[in-house]
């Protein structure tokens, strides 16, 4: 083939990739994310270096994988770890300065007994409406007209110089150009900062397009001491635990907090939380039982059905197989909710057909059974699929040889089929175990971790570590991503430790080959 076509194609692709990288960097630069811009530029450079020459052939294959690993695995992990040492969460999203500015800005109250003015916005005649210094043209409730300037305050505007609308708003004034709605809106940022000072220390500010009020911030900031003082509560607030908290010990705080590093506090919370500690062991045991039980039950059922449908004499396999895959094809959350309805003690299908009085979702043991049954229903089609595939790849002559040697069906299954099957399916069983160990959605949709029989709402009888973690992190007044990250790191450590023997076991299986 013609070599030069491929060379040209290569360069086209490199250029396309670089153009894309450049576009991405430009987008990031516009948002001011300079670290990301640097990283993107570095990636672009790597692409150019690796793919333009013949020097780094292995790297050409490794690079995309490394990139994906860094971007999709390492980066989120680093992010999670870094968040785990902060108090990041609701009320702690921004900086202390942002929080303080919000508190002061939100404390502006209308001065009691002050008038509401009809108002329009204007600039001095001849000055550009888009940039000129803004003036407020005001009409008091008594009909007196004023011009307001942010520096000079109010000065009267002679009655003869103005034209007023029916509601009293000034529509034209000698020496001023009045702005229309769109023009006012375009100056929204300036207007937000504009206040015409009044004698009592307040400021006249616009509300909307044709009204102004006299407002005053009821909270003031003392930069020297870094405290806030509220005229309403007559209290001083100082920073404490990333909140401005009243210094009188009343526990009164402003709800706008800020993000800060808290060191190991999140981990300390996890390991010292009394409910977490008392419930941890119980939940851990159930979590293992649940994950193991699910894998075993789904695997056994899936394998038996697969064996059955793998029988050469069975007719209409296609139809049966498609029907069996149905539970797998329906979204799991729909199935979980359906089962929840069927497990209802009084109105559910299961108790009604079987004439049982079992409180499936209220009794701790029945609820555990209900969870396992539902997950069996959800999970066996997957195992069935996997086993069917694996069984079909087992050569028929091995089984035939066993039969000729006088092995009965059971012996063939145990000694020949199963080991060969497990080689193929073993890693998937471990994956399934890992998935179910953290099967949040099933528990959350079916039982929400309940029933809660301990007289609290923290430790449920069907809770997994992950649902407990969710509740722990998000049940406080303010969902805390910092705490959630810390919990997920702890769970990761647990799963990693437990997976080690599992992976060793798979290695042993592989040695059969």
């Amino acid at each position: 083939m013609n070599k030069s076509i491929y060379v040209a194609l290569k360069w086209v692709l490199i250029v396309v990739a670089l153009v894309f990288v450049f576009w991405l960097a430009a987008q990031l630069a516009m948002q001011g994310a300079w670290l990301a811009v640097t990283l993107t530029a570095f990636v672009g450079l790597c692409i150019l270096l690796i793919y333009s020459t013949k020097r780094a052939v292995p790297m050409k294959y490794l690079f995309p994988g490394i990139l994906a690993l860094l971007g999709l695995q390492i980066w989120p992990m680093l992010l999670t770890i870094s968040i785990a040492f902060t108090n990041y969460g609701n009320g702690h999203l921004g900086t202390q300065e942002e929080a303080r500015n919000q508190i002061v800005a939100n404390s502006v109250q209308e001065v009691p007994g002050s008038p509401r003015y009809k108002a329009s916005v204007a600039v001095k005649s001849g000055q550009p409406k888009a940039t000129g210094p803004l003036k407020l043209l005001l009409t008091s409730p008594e009909g007196k007209t004023y011009v307001g300037d942010p520096k000079e305050g109010l000065s009267e505007l002679p009655e003869g110089d103005v034209t007023k609308s029916t509601i009293g708003k000034i529509t034209a004034a000698k020496g001023y150009d009045v702005l229309n709605a769109r023009e006012i809106n375009a100056r929204g940022k300036d207007l937000g900062e504009l206040a015409v000072p009044t004698d009592d220390g307040g400021g006249i500010k616009m509300v909307g397009l044709s009204e102004a009020f006299v407002g005053k911030a009821t909270v003031t900031y003392d930069a020297a001491k870094d405290t806030l003082y509220s005229e309403v509560t007559k209290k001083t607030y100082a920073p404490k635990n990333a909140f401005y908290t009243a210094t009188d010990g009343s526990g009164d705080t402003f709800s706008q907090g800020w993000r800060e590093n808290v060191g190991l506090a999140n981990f300390k919370t996890i390991f010292t939380d009394p409910t977490f500690r008392s419930g941890f062991f119980k939940i851990f045991v159930w979590n293992v039982v649940f994950a193991l039980g699910t894998v075993l039950l789904t695997f056994i059922l899936g394998m038996l059905i697969a064996l059955l449908f793998n029988h050469p004499r069975l007719k209409g396999k296609g139809i049966y197989r498609s029907l069996l895959i149905l539970p797998y094809a329906i979204p799991a959350f729909v199935t979980a909710l359906l089962w929840k309805g069927m497990f209802n003690q009084d109105y559910g299908l299961i108790n009604q057909t079987l004439h049982l009085g079992t409180d499936w979702l209220g009794n701790p043991w029945a609820a555990k059974a209900a969870v396992l049954i539902t997950n069996l229903w959800l999970g066996f089609p997957y195992m069935f699929l996997v086993c069917t595939g694996a069984l079909q790849s087992i050569p028929g002559d091995v089984q035939e040889a066993a039969r000729i040697d006088g092995a009965n069906a059971m012996q063939t299954l145990r000694k020949i089929t199963m080991p060969l099957l497990l080689v193929a399916v073993g890693p998937l069983l471990i994956a399934s175990y890992g998935f179910n160990f953290n099967n949040f959605s099933l528990i959350y949709l079916l039982t929400e971790g309940g029933p809660f029989t301990g007289g609290n709402a923290t430790i449920g009888d069907t809770d997994l570590l992950i649902t407990l973690a969710y509740r722990l992190a998000f049940s406080g007044a303010n969902p805390s991503y910092g705490l959630a990250s810390a919990v997920s790191i702890v769970i990761f450590a647990l799963v990693a430790i437990m997976s080690l023997p599992g992976f060793r076991a798979t290695k042993a299986l592989e040695e059969i080959n």
Binding site: Y6, L13, A17, F20, V21, L24, L28, V43, Y51, K60, F63, P64, L67, A68, G71, P76, N90, G91, L93, G94, E98, A99, N106, V108, E110, A181, I184, N185, R187, G188, L191, G192, M206, G208, L209, S210, E211, F213, N241, G251, F254, S255, Q256, T275, L337, N344, L361, G362, E448, G450, F452, T453, G455, N456, A457, S475, G476, A477, N478, S480
Partner: protein, 441 residues
């Protein structure tokens, strides 16, 4: 050469993946109806259609951008068009998926991509203020006085007024007129009427009320309020005080005792939950339903001859008073069009036309007194809902409320199911849990 070309393709693929990973905050662009023009001719505001979960993307050319959930989309769009026509502006209404407005609005606002105004429930307020995404709205006293006091109370946080209300929502007693001729005044009457209906074979159970295995304290709250119980005490300025948890005060304990008694008598059951509560009423299994305006459509569809009444009074206490939920317009703290947004909120939303248009879209009593009077004169259902909510208190809008629902609900469920036998001890335990969660911050 083959290999190298493949390598380049793979690199591009990987870069794309990386971009997706980095671009978590950007959302797919949505088409947004009409193309906006920058002239002063009025442009009809068309609701932007969104995919199932993505947040809408604001149109840079719009003079005013409003977000609401898809249920309220048509009504808000209609009033936005009126405002656009009157002002000669381009107003755009964009809808989010129904239960995603709260989060998507906050996420978008944090990165400067949010709307100028968002429509939502009043109990989002505490979180919005806390996260700095809501700005105060300076209504003048005369305008504020035009609203039902409970509605303006709900839009206040820490003494400041945020947003403008437009509808009030609460639960009441829905009954089947074919079985129950006149609604009961007291809970005892309700029970005896229901039991008579069961005896006569006209029903299978007395009452349908959402409890569930984890409880539903929003529904159970009236049982506590009837005895003077509640969630939080109030500060001097009328705000709920997160440091005063009263779910185990004397009144609340009496409410708990009543719930336990009703559970024992099988009037209430943890087996009635969100999946079957409405259906028990529409299938005529229960002649009474404690429910809200959302239960009316299904009842109409099932051809139930329904009536709406106040919740009954209880022996030894007063009337069962529900939580009020108030629907409101929030002003964004990062509004790019603050003057127009303020004009919309302070001069346009507090008018009869707008409030009635919103009522027609949502079928809840308007928050503006004059608009309510007009609607109530013509629509008995709306009058009935409003009456049922009279005297009720707004659901707490302080962030600490997040810590209350779960422990409080579990205590309620435990009392009804009989898992907990001592109401005082169980509510004490729940209060302890709540206080610990609030202290956690």
């Amino acid at each position: 050469m083959h290999k190298r070309a493949f390598g380049a393709v793979a690199a591009i693929g990987a870069t794309t993946l990386l971009m997706t990973a980095c671009g978590g905050t950007t959302t797919p662009a949505q088409t947004s109806g009409s193309t906006p023009t920058s002239t002063s001719t009025s442009t009809a505001a068309a609701p932007a259609t969104t995919s199932a979960t993505a947040a809408p993307t604001r149109d840079a050319n719009a003079d005013l951008v409003i977000w609401c959930d898809s249920t309220h989309g048509p009504a808000v769009t209609a009033i936005a068009k009126k405002f656009a026509d009157a002002q000669g502006l381009n107003v755009q209404v964009q809808t989010t998926p129904d239960d995603k407005t709260r989060q998507q609005y906050q996420d978008a606002t944090k990165v400067g991509k949010g709307p100028d105004i968002v429509v939502g429930a009043h109990d989002w307020l505490g979180e919005f203020v806390q996260n700095g995404v809501a700005a105060p709205v300076q209504l003048d006293a005369a305008t504020a006085a035009k609203f039902q006091p409970s509605a303006t109370a709900a839009t206040k946080f820490n003494g400041q007024n945020y947003g403008v209300p437009y509808a009030i929502e609460n639960i009441g007693l829905i009954y089947n007129k074919d079985v129950i001729s006149t609604p009961p005044k007291t809970l005892d009457e309700l029970i005896s009427m229901g039991q008579a209906a069961v005896k006569a074979g006209k029903a299978k159970q007395v009452l349908s009320m959402n409890v569930g295995k984890q409880g539903n304290p929003y529904m159970a709250y009236p049982f506590f309020s009837a005895f003077g119980g509640g969630v939080f005490g109030t500060k001097a300025n009328g705000d709920y005080d997160p440091n005063q948890v009263i779910i185990n005060n004397a009144g609340s304990v009496k409410g708990g005792e009543l719930l336990a008694k009703l559970g024992k008598e099988k009037i209430l059951s943890t087996n009635v939950d969100g999946t079957n509560v409405a259906q028990l009423f529409t299938s005529k299994a229960a002649p009474f339903l404690i429910g809200g305006p959302w239960d009316i459509e299904p009842a109409k569809k099932a051809n139930i001859n329904y009536g709406i009444a106040n919740l009954p009074t209880v022996a030894g206490g007063g009337a069962m008073q529900p939580f009020l939920g108030v629907q409101m317009f929030y002003l964004s703290s990062k509004a790019k069009n603050a003057p127009l947004a303020q004009e919309f909120l302070t001069a346009f939303v507090p008018t009869d036309d707008v409030q009635i248009a919103l009522y027609e879209g949502g079928q809840r009593p308007p928050a503006l007194k004059t608009a309510y009077d007009k609607v109530a004169a013509q629509t008995p259902d709306i009058k009935a809902w409003f009456e049922a909510g009279k005297g009720g208190k707004p659901m707490p809008n302080i962030p600490a409320m997040n810590a209350v629902w779960t422990p409080w609900g579990q205590a309620e469920a435990d009392l009804i199911s009989g898992a907990a036998t001592d109401p005082k001890a169980r509510l004490d335990a729940a209060a302890k849990e709540i206080k610990a969660a609030i202290a956690k911050g």
